[in-house]
Symmetry: C2
Subunit: 126 residues, 2 copies
């Protein structure tokens, strides 16, 4: 009873599930915030990212960076010195993702007040 219909901006049926999965991975708050921090500050260390992404826990930062590394968005450089020194930087793929999200950031900035007004309106109904 599945609807095999066209979905998504391209209409290739079998690809949709995969695109959905990738979107699910990419449409993640922390991924987006880390991506943005790396776009903004360039190559950064773990502790710098922890500072740059407000509210992220070390655990989530580690996890997010691992996923992003696995997906090929960031490159991890370990300098074998004491104390340890690890740098993270965007790959070209990660950078291209950042550019794709650029319009979303701009949208968020542009419509911040509209959304706030909509929320206030909604909360004051009934």
């Amino acid at each position: 009873m599945e609807n095999p219909a066209i979905t998504r901006y391209s209409n290739v049926p079998g690809v949709d599930a995969l695109v959905n999965e990738l979107i699910g991975r990419v449409a993640d708050k922390w991924t987006l915030l880390v991506l943005e921090a790396l776009e903004e500050h360039g190559e950064s260390r773990f502790s710098a990212l922890a500072r740059a992404v407000p509210g992220i826990s070390q655990k989530m930062l580690t996890q997010t960076l691992r996923q992003m590394e696995r997906d090929g968005f960031v490159h991890r450089t370990v300098h074998p010195v004491i104390p340890p020194h690890v740098d993270y930087r965007l790959t070209p793929l990660g950078h291209s993702l950042g550019e794709a999200f650029c319009s979303v950031w701009l949208w968020a900035e542009a419509h911040l007040e509209t959304v706030a007004a909509a929320r206030a309106d909604f909360d004051n109904r009934d």
Copy 2:
């Protein structure tokens, strides 16, 4: 000890936290998928959305639609008939968000294989 520095594509310090919050709301897998379904199919009923968004539970669909309604992305029309009939459609604001995300969908489609290859490569290391 907070770093008040420039973040985001605009550099207005106080706005950043709000933009972050909005991004967190908007960069949500289910929100994105529902948004896409509404872009694709136009005004839809609850059950049609449940079918159009593969894998979503009723609970998450209800919750996501409520949030999107509160944020002003969707309009909810209740037809007071029996059995109940409720239609959801994108507001202009919701549509503009969909357009902002368009580049992300295109990115996902375009780089699907690159990401798959990166993952395979990562998983086969050490």
